[in-house]
């Protein structure tokens, strides 16, 4: 396939090739089954762990392979090309680990990151509640210090990897009088007393990834499980999302590429009026737009990931921009793919209807695309003072 050359290093190309191999040989042949059964794709997640993909987002000093945003983006694009549900089951651990990576003490990092890097332990990130998602200020879960322990009470909602993760990075209010400065993040282990997960939610797409409530009833954890200092919870969340959003964006690029690949192949083989439908300009222009948008989205995601890896003071705008662009493109391209396939596209026998269902979540999770536009807008407002 003749794509735009992004001049990857030998090591980056190796990541792409291995992720592509696992996607082609294991993800694509199993995605329809996992979509139907809604089972957690444990065998694939474990294969990814054995192949060091969980080490990809962890710094070297804690048993990882470096933790560059670009490396993870390249891997996620390939896995997302196969199945965004399976890719989400994998990526959720990165999101769950980031708070420890960006805000945790050396002790906390040493305790948890090596096991995450080896895939022995999976992680999950817990922010959303029934009254707090886009509005993180609405968090009602509380953590109160009682001697040498924090006591957590509250309920988190729609937590990816719920029930499948071994550790959860959770934000809770530690000082209600201090507003945004009154929240802190903690590491909760799956077998901590007072912690439990609700049943798996039934979703439109990414059905195999686990999404549950997390319930904290006088959940007691040791004092040293706090991530960073008390009151830094929101800062840790923002730093986490700045680094994780390009990953979601790259799932969009992967999905758009898959929808485009399927559409072009179909349009060349489908005959109407005695000609392959790709020969009709109406179809050809649709395919052209799908390709143009996909390449544009990929370029923005790659550039943003490299920008983030350079550790700039401000990465929010680039991170938000690439998330909006790539996931809006994924949705549009997936809808158009179903249109190119027409009646066949609507059938579950063909892969594009699943891509269309899966694409929708990309515009919603890790911050809706409306919230991302707020981020971009606020940054612009700051820049032009």
């Amino acid at each position: 396939m003749d794509r735009v050359d992004h001049f990857l290093t030998e090591d980056q190309q190796m990541i792409v090739d291995l992720a592509r191999q696992i996607t082609d040989e294991m993800v694509i042949p199993n995605r329809a089954r996992y979509d139907e059964t809604e089972e957690y794709p444990l065998d694939i997640v474990e294969a990814l762990a054995k192949s060091d993909f969980f080490a990809l987002f962890v710094p070297e000093e804690y048993g990882g392979l470096g933790g560059s945003c670009y490396d993870l983006v390249l891997a996620l694009e390939q896995i997302g090309r196969g199945c965004v549900g399976i890719a989400t089951a994998y990526a959720a651990s990165a999101l769950g680990a980031y708070p420890i990576i960006v805000g945790g003490s050396h002790e906390l990092k040493s305790k948890y990151l090596p096991d995450i890097a080896s895939g022995k332990k999976r992680a999950a990130f817990a922010l959303t509640e029934s009254n707090a998602g886009s509005d993180a200020g609405g968090i009602q879960t509380t953590a109160v210090l009682d001697g040498d322990e924090w006591v957590i009470n509250g309920t988190k909602q729609w937590i990816t990897n719920g029930g499948q993760a071994h550790l959860y990075t959770v934000i809770a209010i530690t000082d209600p009088s201090r507003g945004a400065r009154g929240a802190s993040m903690f590491v909760v282990e799956a077998d901590d007393p007072g912690f439990s997960c609700g049943p798996k939610e039934k979703k439109m797409g990414i059905r195999c990834s686990a999404t549950t409530e997390l319930i904290f009833r006088d959940c007691r954890i040791p004092k040293d499980r706090i991530i960073g200092r008390q009151g830094t919870g929101f800062i840790t969340v923002m730093k986490t999302l700045d680094r994780s959003r390009p990953g979601i964006a790259s799932l969009g690029v992967g999905l758009a590429q898959a929808a485009l690949d399927e559409s072009v192949t179909y349009a060349k083989g489908r005959y109407q009026f005695g000609k392959p439908i790709i020969s009709f300009q109406a179809v050809q222009h649709m395919l052209a737009d799908m390709a143009i948008e996909t390449e544009a989205a990929r370029a923005l995601v790659y550039v943003s990931a490299r920008h983030i890896d350079a550790h700039p003071k401000d990465m929010s705008k680039a991170s938000a921009m690439c998330k909006v662009k790539a996931t809006d493109v994924a949705m549009k391209v997936a809808v158009d793919a179903v249109q190119v396939f027409a009646g066949y596209g609507f059938m579950r026998e063909y892969p594009v209807e699943k891509m269309m269902r899966d694409a929708k979540i990309l515009q919603i999770y890790e911050g809706t695309n409306q919230i991302q536009r707020n981020v971009v807008g606020q940054e612009l407002n700051k820049e032009y003072t």
């Binding site: 190796m14 990541i15 294991m26 294969a47 060091d52 392979l65």
Partner: protein, 262 residues
Amino acid sequence: MRIVVCIKQVPDAKDVRLDPVTNTLSREGVKSVINPYDRHAMEEGVRLKEQYGGTVTVISMGPPQAKAILSEAISCGVDDAFLVSDRAFAGSDTLATTYTLAQAIKKSGAVDLVLCGKQATDGDTAQVGPGLAARLDMPYVTCVKKINAIKDQVMRVERMMDDGYDEVEIELPALLTVVKEINVPRFPSLRGLRKAKTFDIPSYSAADIDADPAQLGLGGSPTWVVKVFPPECKGERSMIEGSLEEIADKLAGILSDSAYGA
């Protein structure tokens, strides 16, 4: 525990062609891969190492390009690899091959367990495993589908049979040949690929392994392949068209007119 796994480079079974003139396997332009059964042997070696500790060394006898499969083995978790390669090995049958491999293994040091695939998908003899065991003076079990336990130098394994399986005990050092049911081979790992990139695979000649020239290659091979040919296609195929009833009627007619008819 030191484990040695013997692997062979074979033409990809999805892409095998015979040269119509020479009647030999046409290797030109055909992708070479690790013999699929050997892949399972390699995986089992790595799993045993992970469970019981030790090292896994892969060896291959073949032309210099066979280094590619040894490098792939490194990326899949084996610790060490070497090639045995010499023009003198050309034309080896299984007798000469087992001699060469045995010399190489002996030269590489003491070994607790040798693993081979059940057979190679090109030659399909299934003789190298047992032959190698005889050369190394080791007991062996073929067609192993499961290793249950290793305790006090005794291994308990399941040997696949046509109508079930045997549970067999074997004392180490030993040789096992494995079937594909034994495991699902892993993908390479990123760390493995990085290691493979810089891993210099040594190549040993006939002299390096102290081999007796008389027992090598064509000269050391009592087996001579006279002719290789694709089996002749004797049957004639025809498609029956029509409705289900018509197809059934026509088929019944053909069968009763044929030698199978009553």
